[in-house]
């Protein structure tokens, strides 16, 4: 049965004349394998991205979006509004951009420091190590929506456990509840939640990185009489550089376009700390101004790409090149 199918496919292959395009068999086979994923990404990622780029130069909104092609074209209306401080969007754009940067960098630093600490602590043998490693990973695997709501509940001003703990510890008075989800505090809350959610990822990547450092390097350092700190500084850290590059790049980019945490933690309340993703969401979907949302998204995309490219050039090209997402 299977032999006849193979014969059939074999004869089919012989009869099919695929234009060679001057490519060898291996390359053509590779392209066939890549075809489905490229087609999917073209439909869902790249055509809509170009489309969004086009929309950002038009005036597409709630009433015109079904028949978007006949929407008026006004090349620089949206971008002009964003960079003028006296418009509704321009007045808040820069503060929102700063907020986004603080969110991304706060998260990245926190995730890396906590992740590295955890990885170093797990990289020794002790009783209960396997259990500890399992428990540390829980935030990454528990359903995100559920866990963000837990944090939201904990940060609630009047009944949240964070304020209750602070009162119990004597840090604040029971009448001066801190509003964790409003204003500048909202940024802190978002960073804490994002660190909590993502540090296990960094920890496990760095843990694997530590495990792959050749033992000989530590032996050599010990023969040279290097201190703990010197060993860490001159052996461990340089060896972790490729993993570090991937983690930092991923954390910055993922924070930049993170929608779930600000949206679920802060809700749609415009008085809360607004990172760009939330800002865009409010303009595009609450106000129905899709072109403005698209223009803001393009700016966010360009910033992400510039940062990634700069980072990619500045660090280990080889470790990010090709495959690493």
């Amino acid at each position: 049965m299977s032999a006849s199918i193979e014969q059939f496919t074999q004869s089919l292959r012989e009869r099919m004349t695929v234009p060679s395009l001057g490519l060898d068999d291996d390359s053509r086979f590779a392209y066939w394998l890549l075809l489905p994923s490229i087609a999917m990404m073209a439909l869902i990622h790249f055509i809509p991205m170009v489309w969004g780029f086009v929309i950002s130069f038009m005036e597409v909104n709630d009433s015109t979006f079904i028949d978007w092609m006949s929407a008026p074209i006004s090349p620089l209306k949206q971008y002009g509004a964003i960079f003028q401080p006296d418009t509704a969007v321009g007045a808040e754009f820069w503060s929102s951009l700063v907020e986004t940067f603080l969110f991304a960098f706060g998260t990245t630093i926190g995730v890396y420091v906590l992740g590295l600490t955890t990885a170093l602590l797990l990289n020794k043998s002790f009783r209960g190590k396997f259990t500890a490693r399992t428990l540390v990973l829980i935030p990454y695997f528990a359903p995100a929506v559920a866990t963000i709501y837990i944090w939201r509940m904990m940060f609630t001003a009047d009944t949240g456990v964070v304020n209750e703990l602070l009162v119990w510890l004597g840090v604040i008075n029971s009448t001066d509840e801190v509003f964790w989800l409003i204003g500048n505090n909202a940024l802190i809350s978002m960073i804490v939640v994002n660190i909590w959610k993502n540090f296990p990822f960094a920890a496990i990547m760095l843990y694997a990185g530590l495990q792959s450092i050749p033992e000989q390097l530590y032996e050599a350092a010990s023969i040279d009489g290097a201190s703990r700190w010197a060993t860490f500084r001159y052996v461990t850290l340089p060896q972790l550089k490729p993993v570090t590059a991937v983690i930092i790049l991923l954390m910055i980019v993922w924070s930049f376009i993170n929608f779930t945490i600000p949206y679920l933690l802060l809700d749609k309340n415009p008085e809360n700390g607004e990172v760009l993703m939330l800002f865009i969401y409010n303009f595009a979907f609450q106000n129905g101004d899709y072109s403005l949302g698209a223009a803001l998204s393009i700016i966010l995309l360009v910033i992400s790409m510039v940062i990634s490219y700069g980072y990619y050039r500045a660090t280990m090209q080889s470790s990010v090149q090709g495959g690493a997402v």
């Binding site: 809509p48 991205m49 837990i150 997402v325």
Partner: protein
């Protein structure tokens, strides 16, 4: 003379003990930070609403109250939300792994013109803000509905196609790392024995890569299970997933925290169980892509 070295050894020993104790303490703090929200979720799910709003710090429920676990099913169609999530995330996982493993294999084994460009393409998809492509995809789906009569919005296949594509770049990256660890000599031998390239892939490489494929599948499932932005636009009515459904505990009159936490606890159980069972594969699968041995 004899006393000096032993005294010296004792003091380094004591220092090591101190460092060891300090390290245990720090690990304890990290684990507390990690697990405290999970503890609060379970504790709150066992409290009554009146107890939740009582002043002062009281972490544990005074009496175990399982009423939330009964009431939450009645308030919303949680079973339906959960089933929808399983259908959407499960199908997404299958499609993504099929498409992704083909591409990852090509990427791992073959040199072809444009390989570097393909890598950059994968990387760049990770930077596209969801809000940028949401409206165009919405228009695309509406056009398909109008022109071809195929319903796309608020259907399983509509959201599954979006999620499968979103997760493919990540899957390619992870699977490629896995394929890299399988010696190419095995396929060469199979080719000499008369296998075609495709046969070598599904008879030799895929079975060997199963642990990595399982781990990747877990990640894809989790991403699809947790997505919110596109689900809120493309998966309503009959196909509402859990990630959208749980938000309904937030009503205009307030949030039903105790019932919401009961729902959150129930939803965490299957994911954490799968994770517990496949922990080893997941950890090695996650790290295979980025750490070259």
């Amino acid at each position: 003379m004899g006393g000096f070295p032993s005294e010296f050894e004792l003091s380094t020993d004591a220092r090591d003990h101190l460092i060891d104790a300090f390290q245990k303490f720090v690990l304890g703090l990290i684990l507390t930070f990690t697990l405290f929200p999970i503890f609060m979720m379970i504790a709150t799910s066992l409290k009554s609403e009146s107890e939740l709003y009582r002043d002062g710090l009281h972490l544990l429920p005074s009496t175990l109250n399982v009423q939330n676990y009964v009431d939450m099913w009645a308030r919303f169609d949680l079973v339906g939300f959960f089933l929808n999530s399983l259908i959407i995330a499960g199908t997404t996982t299958v499609i993504c792994l099929t498409v992704g493993s083909l591409a990852a294999y090509a990427f791992s084994r073959y040199e072809f013109p444009g390989k570097g460009l393909f890598g950059l393409t994968i990387l760049s998809t990770q930077m596209i803000p969801g809000v940028l492509i949401l409206i165009p995809i919405f228009i695309l789906y509406i056009t398909v509905q109008r022109e071809f009569g195929v319903p796309m919005i608020n259907t399983y296949h509509g959201i599954i196609f979006i999620y499968s594509t979103f997760t493919v770049p990540f899957a390619i990256w992870m699977l490629r790392g896995y394929f890299d660890t399988i010696p190419a000599a095995l396929e060469d031998a199979a080719r000499i024995d008369g296998c075609t390239r495709l046969q070598a892939l599904y008879r030799i490489v895929l079975p060997l890569a199963m642990p990595g494929i399982a781990a990747t599948g877990m990640f894809v499932f989790i991403i699809a299970f947790n997505e919110v932005l596109f689900a809120s636009a493309f998966a309503n009515d009959g196909v509402t997933p859990f990630a959208i459904g749980i938000q309904k505990f937030q009503t205009s009159t307030g949030t039903h925290w105790t019932e919401m936490m009961a729902a959150a606890t129930v939803s965490s159980v299957p994911l954490l169980l799968i994770f517990g069972l496949f922990q080893k594969q997941i950890v090695s699968g996650l790290t295979a892509g980025s750490v070259k041995q």
